[in-house]
Amino acid sequence: MSEPAARRTVIIDETVRVHHLLDREEVLGPLMLAPLLIYLVALVGLPLLFVFIYSFSDATTGSDTFNFVGLETFQKTIADPVFQVALRNTVVFTVIAQAVVIVLATILGFVLSANFRGKWFVRFLILLPWTTPVALSALAWLWMLDSLFSPFNWILGQVHLIDQGTPVAWLGQDSLAVASVVALQAWRTLPLAAVILMAGLTSIPPELNEQAEVDGAGFWRRFFDITMPLLAPIMMVAILFGIVATFTDMAAVYILTRGGPGDATQVLGSWSFYTGIQGGSLAQGAAIGIFMFPVLLGVCILMLRRASRTDAF
């Protein structure tokens, strides 16, 4: 309907009532967007702004006044050896977790898009971890990996791989603790990636693979020469989501290992929390958090560019 026609209707009616206002796109649109905008500004925008402000200050949690100290807080932060460990860990954990996710999610994507009996149940199981809040699933994993109550230890004991009563310290040995944190991150970001890849796989016309089959290509040639290149753009989306989820997360580390053994699993999120919130050095906590920003900004730009590209196929 054209604009003037819409206006004319209102004039003829001569009573401007609420539902007429709501019929107007220029009223309804902003109205519907407002909750999201308010949410974004209040709970994302402002905190982000504060993080930037705090990181250039000497703010603490105990006081609402602070002074600007320029780059001093950043200098302190970079000099902190635990921060250096945390930064390295954050990058390494994210890379490993997402590498694992990509391989497993591709396999799961095939499983999800295949046709078999009980398919909905398998889909349900695969999606389950995704619907669970990270804090809850991390707690569940904490008990699974507990030094005293771990069911894994019980099973290993039952099959006599370890002596009963001498548990494996899943979260106490550096390599196992790192593996546990990475595994949790992979486990919880896997379902979304698998669903995204499933969507990607189903969007590839089946006759492309059949054509390739007729053209003489075996499974691996079809996989690497046809499926993977066509899946790549959507796989990129899955990876970017995974990077954001893993890179910024503190819950997994905070609940599972609290950064231990020593600082072996410390990440930016947890160290920022220990320093800024628990330790009270708000400014330094903010500065630690800032170091996530370049990576996330890069991811955002990639995502937006991806989203604006419509000619993927």
Binding site: G62, D80, A169, G260, P261, T275, Q278, G279
Partner: protein, 435 residues
């Protein structure tokens, strides 16, 4: 924040009867292992000048399910000094209570008083001691039925128990980013003659004594423990002791109290020891396990009501001691709990909560002489709090135990971190000292 209860008590709206107070008081005493507890008193309705009904809001840590709450202990064990700039000066309350019940114990004063700013930023009224807890049956097997008296004895005994049981029963001192490990690390350091800071808030972590303590911890880990100690949360050592996989831990009596109800035979086997001695000629000390401090935020509208409540609390010390099942001890020497608790034939001589033997808690009779605050011999401060919250001392111990650094190197690196933290807070004028 999970676990924090908002208790709205219109305590003073009515004339508080003795019965009312005991009821409310017991609620608080059971729940009052919180630190800090925030009192926000505000008027409801009418203008503040009119003396209408008032509501006292108490934001505090719930301990009704102690095993579970252990989880969240990190939230409440840190000294509240980081909030100093935003809290009401409590000098008047402290002075009034001291006038009635005697001077606060030193470590209590160091917890709620910042000598550098000369302010009482909170009101400390009770603490929980942190003795050693051991399973007598295991120690009997290595000829130490009365438990260890020194760190070396403890190491020898737990190592022997570990090898006798083929690793099934191990030592229970943690090296983990959690409060119990923090307190254990400090108890060890003090008993070896070291400390984080001196009485004037100068950093003193890099000393031979501390290096010795770190070296001891590395040996303890290798001989008596497994890597589990790096992964513990605040509840793990309790659980291990009750489950029979740990022979010795440092903790309050809360685990024991829980075991009394759920596993009486295990509770019967749990005994307590005084702080272990380290270097010769050094008095063995333990960190307070929990110390209760109320703070009143400056935004509170009815600060006088809150203070009035605290005076009531101090007047009824024997109630919170008894209702907490002797978990909490008063920090003033002449309260109405003094005789009931410490006196001849008192609660510690004969546990009203049916210990077997009834004299099991006698060990705690001189707890006020060997309990000290985090930061001892100096005061609590935001710097000390941040060191605690960042788990620097357990991490230092863990670095040496895991063989990542020599004890010397671990201590030197930690000194760098601690000095940076002190420098920051000194800049803000909240911490004294120069070194």
């Amino acid at each position: 924040m999970p676990g924090v209860d908002k208790v709205g008590a219109d305590l003073l709206a009515r004339k508080v009867t003795r019965r009312d107070f005991v009821k409310t008081g017991s609620l608080l005493a059971l729940g009052a292992t919180s630190f800090p507890t925030i009192l926000a008193a505000c008027s409801t309705g009418g203008s503040p000048s009119k003396s209408g009904p008032k509501t006292l809001k108490i934001l505090q840590w719930s301990h009704f399910v102690p095993d579970y709450d252990k989880w969240f202990d990190p939230w409440v064990k840190a000294p509240p000094s980081q909030y100093e700039q935003s809290t009401v000066d409590m000098s008047d309350v402290v002075k009034q209570v001291e006038k009635k019940y005697g001077k606060q114990l030193d470590f209590a004063r160091l917890t709620n008083f910042n000598p550098h700013t000369n302010r009482y930023f909170g009101f400390t009224y009770s603490f929980a001691p942190d003795p050693g807890d051991y399973r007598q049956s295991f120690f009997q097997q290595v000829g130490m039925a009365n438990g260890p008296t020194s760190w070396e004895e403890m190491l020898t005994a737990t190592a022997q128990i570990k090898s006798k049981t083929k690793g099934a029963v191990r030592g229970g001192i943690g090296f983990s980013p959690e409060p119990d490990s923090n307190m254990a690390a400090r108890a060890l350091i003090w008993s070896f003659g070291g400390s984080e800071q001196d009485a004037d808030s100068n950093v003193t972590i890099n000393s031979d004594a501390v290096v010795g303590a770190v070296d001891y911890m590395a040996r303890l880990f290798k001989q008596a423990e497994t890597a589990e100690v790096f992964s513990w949360n605040a509840a793990s050592n309790n659980q291990g002791l009750v489950a029979g996989s740990l022979s010795f831990i440092l903790n309050s009596i809360s685990a024991y109290r829980t075991a009394q109800a759920s596993k009486p035979d295990v509770a019967k086997d749990i005994f307590f020891s005084k702080p272990l001695s380290g270097a010769s000629g050094v008095k063995p000390l333990a960190s307070e396990h929990v110390i209760q401090t109320y703070i009143i935020p400056k935004f509170s509208k009815s600060q006088d009501v809150a203070k009035e409540f605290l005076l009531y609390l101090a007047d009824h010390a024997s109630d919170f001691v008894y209702q907490s099942k002797l978990y909490e001890f008063p920090v003033n020497p002449n309260t109405n709990a003094q005789d009931k608790l410490y006196g001849q034939g008192g609660w510690l001589d004969s546990d009203p909560y049916k210990s077997d033997p009834a004299s099991k808690l006698q060990v705690l009779k001189d707890a006020t002489t060997w309990s000290v605050n985090v930061g001892y011999p100096g005061p609590a401060s935001p710097a000390i709090g941040e060191i605690f919250d960042k788990n620097l001392l357990p991490s230092m111990m863990a670095a040496a135990a895991r063989g990542q650094k020599s004890p010397k190197q671990a201590v030197a690196d930690t000194e760098t971190q601690i000095k940076a933290i002190f420098a920051s807070w000194r800049q803000k004028g909240l911490v004294g000292g120069t070194k």
